[in-house]
Subunit: 333 residues, 2 copies
DNA sequence: TCTATTGGTTGGAGCGCTCTAATGCTGTAG
DNA sequence: CTACAGCATTAGAGCGCTCCAACCAATAGA
C-alpha cells in the first residue's frame, strides 16, 4: 500500500531526484540515455507522479474543477463530455463534484473543489447565491454554464432561449397552427427567456399567447394538460418548457384519448436522449451541449494560461429537431 | 488571486503555526481564548485549509475517488447519491471522474484519480481490464460496483441478477404466460447472471427458454423484435436485458401494430427514471442503487479506517416493480 | 521547598515534489 | 595546454501543512 516516490526512482536509475523530475515533465534538456534509464526505473517500480505534491511545489495546477448541479440530468453529462475533450487535449485533468440541486450541498461541493486549489472552476447551472460565486471568483477563474452572471471575473456560456422558443413557434405556425400554448417552466433556470421568446414570437405572428403555469417535470406537464382539458381550453399545439414536461403532456393527452400528433402537436426543449428514443420521438429544441462544454473549458483556459481578464459571454444558437410529435392541425396529410 | 496560508493566520492571531493547525483540526487541547482568536483571524483573512498540503503532510486523505463509467446513465447518479451520503456523514469528500465507457479513457481517469492519492476508490461498472484494477488495488482499497472480481484486495457490490430475472419470469408465468423470450445483453456487464436466472426460472416452470441476442440499447431491442417478427417467432411476453432495450422493443412492437400489454407483455430491468415516466410506465426489476452506493462507501471506509483486509461481497436483492406493460396473455381482464 | 504532573503551546523536521542557481563535463578555440 | 562556452546534471531551498518532541507555566503532592 505504499507508493514509490521520485527519490526511489532516482536511486534505482542512479540519478538525482531533480533529473527524474525533468524526465517526468518531459523536459527537452535531458540526454536520451538518462531519459530511458529513468523511464525504465519508473516503470519497474510502478511509479507515477504525485499530483498534489507537484501542484504544491509548482504553485500551479493542471486540474479543472467541475461542479455539476444534478448528476441525474443527462444534459450535464454531455456538457462534461465537451469539457473533458478540451481539457484532455490541453493536458488538464478534471475533477467533478455534485451539488444535488441543494444550495447547501452545492456550497459544500464548491468548498471541497476549492480545497484542491484547481486552476479554475466550471459551474454547471449552479443554484448557490451569486455572492458565493463572486467570493470564489476572487480566488480563481470561474465559468458559469446555463446560468448568467454580471460579475466581471466570471465568464458565462448559455443558449439563446428566446431564439429557441421562437424556432419552435415558427415551426408550429408553418405547419398551420394558430392556437399554441406554452407550458411554462416557472422559476426554473432559463425558463424566463423561453417564455419571453414564446410570447414575442406569437405576437410577431399576430397570435394570442397562452402561458400555462407548469414545471420542469413530467408530472407537471401532465397536470397542466389536465387543467387545460378541464377548462376546455386545449390548443392544437403545445410548446413545453423542456422534454420531461413534454413527455408528461403527451401521456396526459393520450390518457384523454387524444392522439399526438394527429390531434395535438407537442414540442419539447433540450433534445435530451429521452427525446431521441424511438418510443418517444419528440420534436424538440436542441442545445449544443458538448459545445457548451468546449467553450467553457476554452474560456477557462484562456484565463488560466493567457491571463485574460475581461469577461466573455457566449450565447449559443439552439436548433430545431423535427421528429414525430408535430404535424399540421388535423394530422399529417 | 492569492490565498492566505496558515502562517498568515498565525501571525495575525499572534500564535504559532502549529496552534492554528490544531484549531483547524479542532483539537480539544486548545484554550478557548486562543481558539476564538484564531478563528477570528482566519475569518478575517478568508482562510481555508489547503487540502493538498494537508494530505501531503499527514500522509492521509479524506477523499474518496469515484470513477463513473458513464455519466449519461442515471443509474450511476443514484449510486453516487448513496456514496455521497455516507462519505459526507463520515467527513469524507468525494471526487468524481468519468471513463466514458472507453477502456482507454477509463484508464486515464483512473490514473488521474490515483494521482490525488485518495483514501480509496470506488469504481462503478468499470470496463478496464481486471489486471489494471488489480494493480491499483496494491496501492489503495478499491470497491467495485456492478462488476464482480476475485481479487481479494477488492470488495464488490452487485445485485443478484439471477434472482432479478427469476422474479420477472415468475411474474409473467403467474399472469399466465408460457412463451417468454429473453432479449439478451450479450457482453454487457451483469448480462450473464440475468440470462442464467432467466433460463433456470423457465426450466423450473417446465417452459422452454428462448434467448435472443441483443444489447443494452433501445435500437438493439427494436432490432431483436423485428427479427422475431420476421421469423414469426414472437412470444406472448418479453424479458429485456435492461430498460432501454425494453423501450426499443415496445416501439418496434407498436410499429408492427401490436399493443403492449394487450398483445405482448414487456419487462425491463434496472428501473431507471425512464421506466417510471408515465408515458413509458414499464414493468421492470428494481436494483437498490442508493443502497449500492452506501454499501460501497461503507466497505471502503472499513478498509480505510478499520484496516479490514478480507474481501466483502455484497449481493443485493432486486425487486419487481409492476407497472403497465405486463398483463395476462390476451390483455387485461 | 522541591519535584511530578498536567495542559497548553511551540519549533523544527519532513511529506513529494519543483525551481533556481550552481556544478561538472565535454568539446572547441585561443 | 589553458580558457571558455554550452550543455546536462545536481544540491538545496521551499510550497502549506502535520506531527513529534520539547518546552513552559501553573497546579498538586510530598
Amino acid at each position: 500500500m505504499v507508493r514509490p516516490t521520485m527519490e526511489d526512482v532516482a536511486e534505482r536509475a542512479g540519478v538525482s531526484r531533480a533529473l527524474v523530475s525533468l524526465v517526468m515533465r518531459n523536459s527537452p534538456k535531458v540526454s536520451e540515455a538518462r531519459r530511458t534509464a529513468v523511464l525504465k526505473a519508473a516503470e519497474e517500480l510502478g511509479y507515477s507522479p504525485h499530483a498534489m505534491a507537484r501542484s504544491l511545489a509548482s504553485r500551479t495546477s493542471t486540474v479543472l474543477g467541475v461542479m455539476v448541479s444534478d448528476l441525474h440530468n443527462a444534459f450535464f453529462a454531455e456538457v462534461v463530455d465537451g469539457i473533458d475533450e478540451v481539457a484532455r487535449e490541453q493536458g488538464f485533468d478534471i475533477i467533478i463534484n455534485t451539488g444535488g440541486r441543494s444550495p447547501a450541498r452545492e456550497r459544500r461541493a464548491l468548498e471541497s473543489l476549492l480545497s484542491f486549489r484547481p486552476a479554475g472552476l466550471i459551474l454547471l447551472s449552479p443554484v448557490v447565491p451569486a455572492t458565493a460565486i463572486g467570493k470564489a471568483a476572487e480566488q480563481l477563474p470561474i465559468v458559469l454554464v446555463a446560468r448568467s452572471s454580471r460579475v466581471s471575473a466570471v465568464d458565462t456560456v448559455n443558449d439563446d432561449g428566446e431564439q429557441g422558443a421562437r424556432l419552435a413557434v415558427d415551426h408550429l405556425v408553418s405547419l398551420g397552427h394558430k392556437r399554441i400554448a406554452h407550458l411554462d417552466g416557472g422559476e426554473g433556470s432559463q425558463a424566463s427567456p423561453r417564455r419571453r421568446g414564446y410570447v414575442a414570437a406569437m405576437e410577431a405572428h399576430g397570435l394570442v399567447p397562452q402561458v400555462v403555469a407548469s414545471e420542469y417535470t413530467d408530472a407537471a406537464g401532465a397536470r397542466a394538460i389536465r387543467s387545460l382539458l378541464a377548462d376546455d381550453a386545449l390548443p392544437t399545439a403545445i410548446l413545453s418548457c423542456n422534454d420531461f414536461n413534454a413527455v408528461g403532456a403527451i401521456s396526459a393527452l393520450e390518457d384523454a384519448g387524444l392522439r399526438v400528433p394527429e390531434d395535438v402537436s407537442v414540442v419539447g426543449y433540450d433534445n435530451t436522449s429521452l427525446a431521441a428514443l424511438r418510443h418517444v420521438s419528440l420534436t424538440t429544441i436542441d442545445q449544443p451541449r458538448a459545445e457548451f462544454g468546449r467553450l467553457a473549458a476554452l474560456a477557462l483556459l484562456q484565463r488560466v494560461r493567457d491571463g485574460r481578464t475581461e469577461p466573455v459571454r457566449h450565447l449559443l444558437n439552439p436548433s430545431l429537431v423535427v421528429r414525430n410529435t408535430t404535424a399540421p392541425p388535423g394530422g399529417p396529410r
